[in-house]
Symmetry: C2
Subunit: 357 residues, 2 copies
DNA sequence: AATTAGCACTCTCGGGTGTTAAGTGCTAAT
DNA sequence: ATTAGCACTTAACACCCGAGAGTGCTAATT
């Protein structure tokens, strides 16, 4: 699969994997002597040292200083994630917690994501992130007008993405029922399924023409429609368990921590990364693999949740490069699949999206 | 106003104020020698030392260790805020930034709060917080039913707080228009302006009775109404500029920082404090004045934004006890007033709340 | 030819020590 | 009542030293 796979002997792979496992678990540089305690490695420390020196030369390991053990480099982690890592088996407790959330069928996606974030953070002990995707400008398929009282009416818009938006519109001058019916008809004739940025003067004039006598209503209505169509939910990123990062020695340094918090606060950047990501597979960014300079010492793992063809959210984890990738990946994948299933179940009940905001 | 005001000679007050001003500005314990450089104080360091010793005995100052200068105690800060502090004058740059936000009439309250938070944080250099209040279970004043297609209809609910909620309801069995009209009428007769927790069996049976032939529709509708009424927007707290706290030496200690982040993550606690606060004046909590143990070393300043009689949000600042109270108070008050004004302007345009989510 | 034992070397970490600077409290003089 | 002067306390910093961990290299062993 990878060129590197042929570059390394089985023995080197074993040593590399053992080192990375140990470093992920303990967080301290791993020395040759420690490796001799591993049952699967029956070599003297000297031989291991030679192998480690070669692995370092090849770029899989680095040394914090000459008299310390080795720690994985980014290339090392990458190879580990791609080829070496063992599958994590969720414990029964963990499974129970995860299933609990999925089966508990909380109807609103927002709260599902909130609980999911909290759960992922507590299970993995890293910071979790949940994303609600941005919804771009949207086309409106159909209009309904509902007179509420003598002062105004409710404009109901059904969008192309099968959601409903409503706006209350205050009537500047009394408009009789006939006017509202004509307005509704005119909107449905002229303003359906078009890109709001292409509304031109001729169209506007046509609209005005159809509504002679009620044209004072047109401009507030148009404003509302325009707003509703462009209400781009710019995407929402929520984090949970930020303070968990503090327990890892790599963030005991104030500078590292500071740059980390800065990243977490630049939510647009993270949203950008998520929006540009693979929508079907799990995404793993290790250290500098992400373009953000301040994320040099952190890794990001996430997966989007899809319902049918469209993305409804994403769940992931942010933590140190020394992350328990195996556990994180398993947890995130299990949960995203579960939530996707839960949503598609729900959609069987109702074709249109039930409950929106 | 305060008993303490009589306890202190003018000279003590001058010394105390000068110490607190200096400590807020510099963050380092203030010694007697430094105070002699102040033009308004024409005393020798020895005299000042005596006064400082007395102020310490009275509880306004403390000493980190015997050979350090003095720092204000919580009592000291409290007295400073209540009686000693000078008014801060916003600079023209600051005024411009603040006015810019207020005059820029962004229509959605959400984005206004978001920008306001960012602005407050950047102007004061502390962490800002913005709160959208929780909306409790709500009574529904009126129902409208709108048939969208043969599969289902839209249930529109106008609430007592003048907002509109809609739910799409899937029809299990085909229901003709007459059924929907009768459903709407029955809901408006029986289910208006009542507390959802008091819906009793007799009421349910009455409802069923009015809808003979269509009763299969009743239970999903009831479920939706119940959900809509109890969709308690549990309040939303957003923070901005968390990383700014790192620049203050009081948070250079990992433990302090950790407990701080923990507090920031327990948003419910902060929401609680805000919801129980004074709705008209600015609220200032210094250190332990707040019940949360982990906030021992932080202060919280905030003010709610009201439109007419109801609270639409709150803006504030979290920072070290050594906070530039004067600047923070002025900034927060100016901005909350500005936003309140901006909202009430808007409400002149439309009686009902225009644009909700 | 591959592996291993042995050893000199390097580097960090923690503890101990001495010095410096800041600031105090007290006493006696003004 | 105020102040000068002085002895005292303490944190902070720099410095040194030894212990411990781990390495790379060489020579011996399998």
């Amino acid at each position: 699969m990878h060129k590197e796979a042929y570059e390394l002997s089985e023995r080197k792979k074993l040593i590399l994997r053992t080192i990375i496992d140990a470093y992920i678990a303990g967080g301290e540089p791993v020395g040759s002597k420690f490796l001799t305690t591993n049952k699967r490695i029956t070599l003297s420390s000297a031989t291991i040292r030679n192998e480690m020196a070669e692995l370092e030369e090849m770029g899989y390991l680095t040394q914090p200083h000459t008299s310390a053990g080795r720690i994985p480099s980014e290339k090392g982690y990458r190879f580990y994630v791609d080829s070496l890592m063992r599958n994590y088996r969720l414990s029964s407790d963990e499974l129970r917690a995860l299933n609990n959330l999925v089966q508990n069928k909380i109807s609103e996606l927002d709260s599902v994501l909130e609980y999911a974030g909290r759960l992922v953070s507590s299970l993995t002990n890293y910071t979790s992130l949940t994303v609600k995707p941005r919804t771009d400008a949207v086309k409106i398929l159909r209009y309904k007008i509902l007179k509420l009282n003598s002062d105004g009416f409710l404009l109901i818009m059904i969008t192309a993405t099968q959601t409903v938006k409503t706006k209350y519109i205050h009537m500047t001058s009394a408009t009789d029922d006939d006017g509202l019916i004509r307005l509704e008809r005119a909107l449905n004739e002229l303003m359906c399924d078009i890109d709001m940025n292409t509304v031109t003067m001729p169209l506007m004039m046509q609209l005005q023409a159809q509504l002679v006598g009620y044209d004072s209503q047109v401009s507030p209505v148009m404003r509302c429609i325009y707003e509703a169509a462009n209400e781009s939910d710019s995407g929402d990123l929520k984090l949970d368990g930020v303070n968990r990062l503090l327990q890892y020695p790599e963030f005991n340094n104030i500078d590292t921590l500071s740059s980390m918090l800065e990243v977490l606060e630049r939510k647009e950047d993270i949203l950008d990364v998520v929006s540009k990501s693979d929508k079907r597979l799990i995404n793993i960014y290790i250290g500098n693999e992400i373009e953000l300079a301040a994320m040099r010492h952190t890794s990001l793992v996430f997966k989007t949740i899809s319902s049918g063809s469209h993305v409804v959210g994403a769940i992931g984890v942010i933590g140190p490069c020394r992350m328990d990738y195996s556990k994180v990946i398993t947890t995130v994948e299990y949960l995203t699949l579960g939530i996707a299933g839960m949503i598609s179940d729900e959609e069987e009940d109702s074709d249109i999206y039930d409950g929106y905001e």
